[in-house]
Symmetry: C2
Subunit: 253 residues, 2 copies
């Protein structure tokens, strides 16, 4: 029996992403991290620093996927409302975590640990801390929700810290076939037939434009190396046939 | 009376973003584009190339925001299912658009316009075309949903083409205050007080780490230049006071 799939969503919290001020660098990093571990990233949402919006998104995602990873909104300023929102989503009181205070005191002198900085230790009761090797203020995990910072360097440190505790699934393997400038429409019908014969695989065709020419790539993804290899071989035969018969030489008008 | 806010969501459609293979470059570009036009981007979602998922996300977003911009899934291959999903979301049949066929024929010879390529002309009945100055295959607009390509260069061309037809709102103005390495916790209480006095403004504090030092920035956003200027002046006084009294010289343990 194949192992149970392990799934995830990412919830990016931050006005600054929606306004365009900050270009998100976390989603792609987390996507790679999850794919490497056999955790299937199924959905991403970006919401503003508004408690009701965070609660609604979190409750939609946490019941549906094995894990929800949040980024952003856990600092000491008034616009950092993630911990409060996570508490509200779970119906749990948000309290000062003494262990988090201890971690903050490893970096901050007691006389500097003002009310704003203490907010970084506020989290839903029962949360487990996630180490922050960069600047101490921890993330946390409550239920299946993993709450991380938005600053990429800190988010990455937290992801590394939480990694050993994550359930992992069968890794999704991927093989790429470089097609180059043969247009998608030339191989689309053959590719569709191969995809239809292999419903357990996800076969995608990805065009990009490099120096005014298409630079297309076909990617075959799935859990079983043998069926991926067979599909890749079938696709490579299609491409080789197009080249052998000169049908790859497509000219646009 | 202030003008009615114009809002938007972005729906990114693509397995390749969720697997990490492709790092999205469209959301940040669209966010900047919308902000410049006084359209408030309120939510972003990324979903896989799965019709039911696209339909559910689209129906959640299109009833809530003035516009939904989708990217991805409008090519000629089997994994391009956006047009079909948009039709399903609106309960409209997806038909071959003759005007889109004409556009395809500007680039593709009649003998090469196979069934796969004709799929690029399939769209919900009643859709209005969006010009693609890069490679002709058009995007489309149906209701308040704007359907665009995923390739950034083509997406950008479509966004430029649709721009003149978009309703615009009062532009959200933003002023940034460079705080540098004064930690957020040092100014958080004063900033919270200024934010509480200006509920019409969105005031955010954005830390980043540059060469191991915090490089913090405060951003004041809103529709009214005078109230932004007043809040910025108040924040600048807080920062100047911290510097004048030496309280900016924070040392971590």
């Amino acid at each position: 029996m194949p192992p149970k799939p392990v799934t995830a969503a990412v919830l990016v919290i931050g006005d600054e992403i929606l306004s365009g001020r900050t270009k998100d660098k976390n989603v792609g990093f987390i996507a790679d991290f999850l794919t490497e571990r056999g955790i299937d990233l199924c959905e991403v949402r970006v919401v503003p620093d508004v408690i009701d919006e965070i609660v609604a998104a979190l409750n939609a995602l946490r019941h549906r996927y094995s894990y929800v990873f949040t980024t952003g909104g856990i600092g000491p300023t008034h616009d950092d409302v993630t911990a409060e929102a996570v508490g509200a989503a779970f119906g749990l009181p948000v309290v000062e975590n003494p262990q988090a205070i201890e971690l903050l005191l490893q970096r901050i002198k007691p006389e500097d640990l003002n009310a704003a900085r203490r907010r970084m230790a506020h989290m839903p009761v029962g949360a487990a801390l996630i180490e922050n090797s960069v600047s101490k203020a921890p993330g946390f995990k409550i239920g299946n929700v993993i709450v991380m910072a938005g600053v990429p360097m800190i988010m990455q440190a937290m992801l590394a810290a939480v990694a050993p505790s994550l359930e992992t699934g069968a890794r999704t393997l991927a093989k790429s076939i470089t097609v180059g400038n043969i247009p998608e429409g030339t191989y689309a019908a053959d590719l569709a037939a191969i995809a239809a014969q292999n419903p357990e695989l996800a076969i995608g065709s990805y065009p990009s434009v490099v120096n005014g020419q298409f630079a297309n790539e076909i990617v075959v993804r799935g859990k079983d190396a043998d069926s991926i290899a067979a599909a890749v071989a079938a696709i490579e035969r299609v491409i080789a046939d197009l080249r052998a018969t000169g049908k790859d030489k497509f000219t646009f008008r």
